[in-house]
């Protein structure tokens, strides 16, 4: 198992709380993680095709290459824990258990989409699944995560919030303000930097001072943890520490996960800021699906034949989602005026009679 120089978690053991060590998954549970990663890959490839055919419009940021990160980290959460992310959100949504159909339909702008066709690629939401977006402004979701965690703590639910952000977001003021508030008020939130090295087309070496990025945790006296985002097991292990810290001690942490995206920043990115050789090199040395698949082969948890089956199922599900999205109706134009205001069911004018 890959180990990346993780910082010591500033955690004090508290006996009697939930298990201190990461529960071991059964072979079939491990295969499920791979299944999810493959599904995200195939879903994104189908989305890319549909974008090239102009069936998906606007911006479309693909998660290809980063699958182990969302799948590994979300696999350490309970069903009612909160997940929130930025605009590269398809992978997290699928990892959180949202259906391929509702996600693809949203990309197609259909009424059957997870946001009724009003959000698009960058604004997936599913409140029931505790997937709180899908946020378009870099770093803008980070204070929301602190607020969700604040409410979890206020209500004493024992739930935690995981907030993803890119390496480009670490220089936004909102992010630093959020870290400060989370540390100051001891909020059960985990900020996960998905460091894919490029803030759109600008390499991190040209956009950030102060490496590694996880050092930003030190300034706020938070636990700083690093993980290898190409290795789903390593992500799970390191995330578990952070999740336990939040759940048992209500302490936030900052987790920096090294990853790499194989596609452009968005579908409209020609990718002139890096060479094809660089991408090929990265795929060769650390492609997350192959890495995990080979490990499962070695563990005898998976056979070649079973893997082919997983691939087939993933392609079939992605294709089904395209068919569903295509055959779904457009939103009625009248829905443009829906979802602006919540019903005001609490206020009725009341004034005691004069003299009462």
């Amino acid at each position: 198992m890959a180990s990346s120089g993780a910082k010591k978690v500033k955690s004090k053991e508290k006996p009697g709380k939930s298990p201190a060590v990461l529960p071991t998954l059964t072979p079939s549970e491990r295969v499920d993680l791979l299944r999810k990663m493959v599904l995200i890959r195939r879903f994104e490839q189908k989305a890319a095709q549909a974008f090239m055919q102009a069936k998906i419009k606007g911006f479309c940021h693909l998660y290809i290459g980063q699958e182990a990160l969302a799948v590994g980290s979300i696999s350490t959460l309970n069903r009612t824990d909160a997940v929130i992310t930025a605009y590269r959100d398809h992978g997290h949504a699928l990892a959180r258990g949202m259906t391929s159909r509702e996600c693809m339909a949203e990309l197609f702008g259909k009424i059957t989409g997870c946001s009724r066709g009003k959000g698009g690629s960058m604004h997936f939401f599913n409140k029931e699944k505790h997937f709180h977006g899908g946020h378009g402004i870099v770093g803008g979701q980070t204070p929301l995560a602190a607020g969700i965690a604040f409410a979890q703590k206020y209500n004493g639910t024992g739930e935690v919030t995981v907030c993803y952000l890119g390496d480009g977001a670490v220089n936004q003021g909102a992010f630093h303000e959020s870290l400060n508030l989370a540390a100051l008020w001891k909020l059960p939130v985990i900020y996960v930097i998905e460091n894919n090295e490029y803030a759109m087309g600008t390499h991190q070496s040209r956009s950030s001072a102060g490496y590694p990025l996880v050092k930003r945790a030190d300034g706020y006296d938070m636990a700083g943890i690093t993980a290898n985002g190409n290795d789903v097991d390593d992500v799970r292990e390191k995330m578990w520490d952070a999740v336990q810290l939040a759940r048992t001690e209500s302490l936030p942490s900052l987790v920096e996960v090294k990853t790499y995206r194989y596609r452009g920043h968005s579908m409209s990115d020609p990718g002139n800021y890096r060479t094809k050789e660089e991408i090929a090199e990265r795929k060769k040395e650390s492609e997350p699906i192959s890495l995990f698949k080979e490990r499962l082969f070695k563990e005898k948890a998976l056979t070649e034949k079973q893997y082919e089956e997983i691939e087939k199922e993933a392609v079939a599900e992605a294709e089904d989602s395209i068919a569903f999205a295509e055959s779904s109706p457009e939103p009625e134009v009248a829905t443009v005026f829906e979802d602006i205001f919540a019903p005001e069911d609490q206020i009725a004018e009341f004034r005691p009679p004069i003299g009462s």
């Binding site: 959000g119 977006g133 204070p143 929301l144 607020g147 969700i148 206020y154 919540a342 005691p352 004069i354």
Partner: protein
Amino acid sequence: MAVLTMREALNQALSEEMERDERVILMGEEVAEYQGAYKVSSGLLQKFGAKRVLDTPISESGFSGLGVGAAMQGLRPVVEFMTWSFSMVAYDQIVNNAGAIRYMSGGQYSIPIVFRGSSGAGLQVGATHSHTPENWYANVPALTVITPAFPDDAKGLLKSAIRSNNPVCFIENEKLYGFKDEVPEGDILTTIGKARVRREGSQVTLIANSASTHVALASALQLEADGISAEVIDLRTIKPLDIPAILGSVAKTNRVVIVEENKPFAGWGAQVAFEIQNRSFDDLDAPIERVTGLDVPQPYARVLEQAVMPSADRVTEAAKKTLA
């Protein structure tokens, strides 16, 4: 009926709503230990404790967004800006998060949050601290914008704002915190989106909000002395705008002066003027006049700032122009 200052009326509203609903929390700079920069939150920490009355760091973007996240999760936060001038650094959180998440998610979330605090010019605090930002927030489709002028409305509207399931910008005016007037005892709720006629008249309608309502009322006295009967409408809520109340008065007086402290370009008065000419063109006997803050950054020196502020004299002059 009790006579209260604006700040006492606001304090009562906060206290009663926090008493009524445990999900209501108050956060902002100096709201707890310091008892509020303008003493609006005085005594609330002692009454409700540090879990519900929270001093924040000077971090408007952070704590505004935190409030929105808490509202998404079912709490009903009241977020105080020491002044709305400081809300500029939280603009993204207010506009893109409070103002769009319900819509972007296809209606999955309610955002029951109140952003509130002081605003306004005229106290020689210079360009950065003198904003009246109701225009900026009224331009966001899903935001409600309330600007009370009197203590009774401040109390009734703040209570309604806290009970609203939608994000509300509740914009107070610093000049009014010490203003005293009668406030009914107990649980008063004022409907959001209804204007109030604060003075009846027959020859010209003065449409105002917040502190400008008091400028308009002062002008109405001047006009009365000159034998002119002016009606004063306090909009109370900028968004939604009470168009029927405005048109009803115009049908009666046929002349309009709009009084607003904010800068003129695309100010709410421009919207009011549009609505009147578009819906009641035939009722107008004269072009609509506007008295606004002058279109310059707010100056410090007293004589300069007084020249920039809307004044009763300027309103009276404008009213007479409509009657000429």
